[in-house]
């Protein structure tokens, strides 16, 4: 029953975006977010939309993933739109009925805020769609490495993330197994009100926690017996390298950002 939940949203592929260095991709996302927030005027908004479509095309991600990325956000998007529509002050009244009214400015504001959120969510989903969780943590570790001078545990944090990701499917499998074992003893997880259902999960959660701790213990032991001692002096099997594509994409996106700032400053 848990087997049909796909984990993470990584979509394996070999596009140019997939092959970018994870560090570059994280950096590009930051710039992309900046672009989305810098844009204010009506026509300039078209540019990040075009940019998003281009990125999806380069990453060879089917359009359906665009919608599935937005799906969990749909109520938030509606909420954002409505709040902005009625809460923004303006002068040109478009619609009025008793105390309910909204203005041209509010409509624009609501539209842009919602569009901004869509751009943000869909854009950042490209990062997780094209980067495997392991590459992502590797990239984060490298990016955080300078902070080690300030005694920030960059390696340990990345290792914890990697281990957590590694164990999600294992724990799902375990949950499935324990759930079945208790169902064989007549446990019922499907009927009853919310409190009864929560209570019926105890026979699953207790063994699950016990086994998670046991696994953690065993893993720690296995790591120590292979002389793991943290990030100090640790080398990697696969080093991250920057390529020309990393440079080009960074230059392009930075130029894009600068262009948009200039456009916004210029009186049209």
């Amino acid at each position: 029953m848990t087997a049909n939940i796909t984990l993470g949203q990584y979509l394996p592929g070999n596009s140019v975006v997939h092959r970018l260095d994870p560090r570059t991709k994280i950096f590009l996302m930051v710039i992309y977010i900046a672009i989305v927030f810098v844009v204010k005027s009506l026509f300039v908004f078209l540019l990040p939309v075009v940019l998003l479509v281009t990125m999806f095309a380069f990453a060879q991600i089917p359009a359906s993933y665009f919608f599935s990325a937005l799906k969990p956000m749909k109520w938030l998007l509606v909420f954002m739109f409505v709040i902005n529509l009625f809460a923004t002050q303006g002068e040109t009244i478009l619609f009025q009925w008793k105390f309910i009214k909204f203005t041209q400015e509010a409509l624009e504001q609501a539209f842009f805020m919602t569009l901004r959120l869509i751009l943000l969510v869909a854009g950042t989903s490209i990062l997780t769609l094209t980067t495997s969780p392991i590459a992502l943590t590797d990239g984060l570790e490298k990016l955080m490495a300078p902070l080690r001078k300030l005694r920030f545990p960059a390696h340990e944090l990345a290792m914890m993330m990697t281990i957590a990701l590694r164990f999600i499917p294992t724990l799902m499998e375990e949950t499935d197994r324990i759930q079945k074992a208790q169902m064989a003893r007549g446990a019922d997880f499907e009927s009853g009100n919310i409190f009864q259902r929560a209570k019926s999960m105890i026979p699953v959660l207790v063994p699950l926690f016990v086994s998670a701790f046991r696994r953690a213990d065993e893993l720690a032991m296995a790591m120590e017996s292979r002389c793991y001692h943290g990030g100090e002096g640790r080398t990697r099997m696969r080093e991250l390298h920057f390529h020309a594509r990393d440079l080009f994409s960074t230059v392009f996106l930075v130029a894009f950002l600068v262009g948009i700032i200039l456009l916004e400053k210029m009186p049209l």
């Binding site: 197994r177 064989a184 003893r185 105890i202 699953v204 207790v206 016990v210």
Partner: protein
């Protein structure tokens, strides 16, 4: 009434890219009070098959009837699950209550029995698995030893007084003494209560020793189901499937290769030993 498996097929994640046919057209009847051994290489579909016996998995095609009750009927499932007790691999990992007695009572409680009856059954089950109720009832299941934990978990299923008991590798990870105790318990359940036993095992010797019939699964299909002597006479096929032979059968084969004429195939050590002792006396 028996458990009837009719043309059962099961596909995991049907309709998706990951669709995986795990069982294919299996027909098998498990008689009352029978001891059926199930053998097969890893991934041959053993676990998938036994999870159909109490409706934890439902057939993609075909049907499973337990005493005439169809596992696909949602209303019947609770009854089916109290008829067919299921002991998963490493059942000790399902213990969760504060005391052994309360954990054993989990199944009977779900069956809706009254307090007095539950108490009787918990005591009975603990005695059956060889855990003295006076000593173990109030202990936490987490402070027991490995073998005791396994027996406590087993008691949790026996307390439901199942008519059939399905066991997936019940001896895995136990020491020789623990193995013997569990095997003796399974045998006594069948002898004293007429419980039908379905046991999945990798140990050919255990299956050869106790099973009335053996079902051999290979790549999701039923290769054969027959008496042990017939099954183990197909030694070449079994080895091809990545399975082993019982030690006695292996010994007979080795003796034949050395040119010693053995008239019979054996799969139980005692019988082979009798034969060899007889020869030895004869030769003298």
């Amino acid at each position: 009434m028996p458990i009837e498996i009719k043309q059962l097929s099961h596909t995991y994640l049907p309709g998706s890219q990951l669709a995986y046919p795990a069982l294919c057209d299996i027909s098998l009847t498990i008689e009352d009070g029978e001891f059926l051994g199930i053998i097969g290489h890893t991934g041959s579909g053993k676990s998938t098959l036994i999870q159909h016996l109490n409706g934890l998995l439902l057939p993609t095609d075909g049907s499973v009837l337990v005493d005439g009750l169809d596992t696909r009927e949602k209303k019947l499932r609770k009854r089916i699950r109290s008829l067919v007790g299921m002991v998963f691999q490493y059942p000790e990992y399902q213990l969760f209550e504060e005391t052994v007695a309360r954990d054993v009572a989990f199944g009977p409680k779900n069956m809706g029995l009254d307090e007095a009856e539950i108490k009787v059954r918990v005591n009975e089950a603990l005695v059956l698995v060889g855990l003295d109720p006076a000593e173990f009832s109030e202990k936490s299941p987490f402070e027991l030893s490995g073998g005791e934990k396994r027996r406590a978990a087993l008691a949790g299923i026996l307390a439901m007084r199942p008519k059939y008991l399905v066991l997936d590798e019940p001896m895995a990870g136990l020491d020789p003494r623990g193995r013997r105790e569990i095997l003796a318990l399974i045998e006594s359940l069948r002898r004293d209560f007429g419980t039908g036993i379905v046991m999945v095992s990798h140990s050919m010797d255990d299956v050869a020793m106790f099973a009335d019939r053996i079902a051999v699964l290979d790549k999701g299909a039923l290769f054969m189901v027959d008496k042990p002597e017939t099954v183990f006479s197909h030694s070449a096929e079994l080895i091809d499937m990545g399975l082993n032979l019982p030690q006695a059968t292996q010994l007979v084969r080795a003796l034949r290769m050395r040119g010693i004429a053995m008239e019979h195939d054996y799969f139980r050590m005692e019988e082979l030993a009798q034969d060899l002792i007889g020869r030895w006396h004869h030769d003298r």
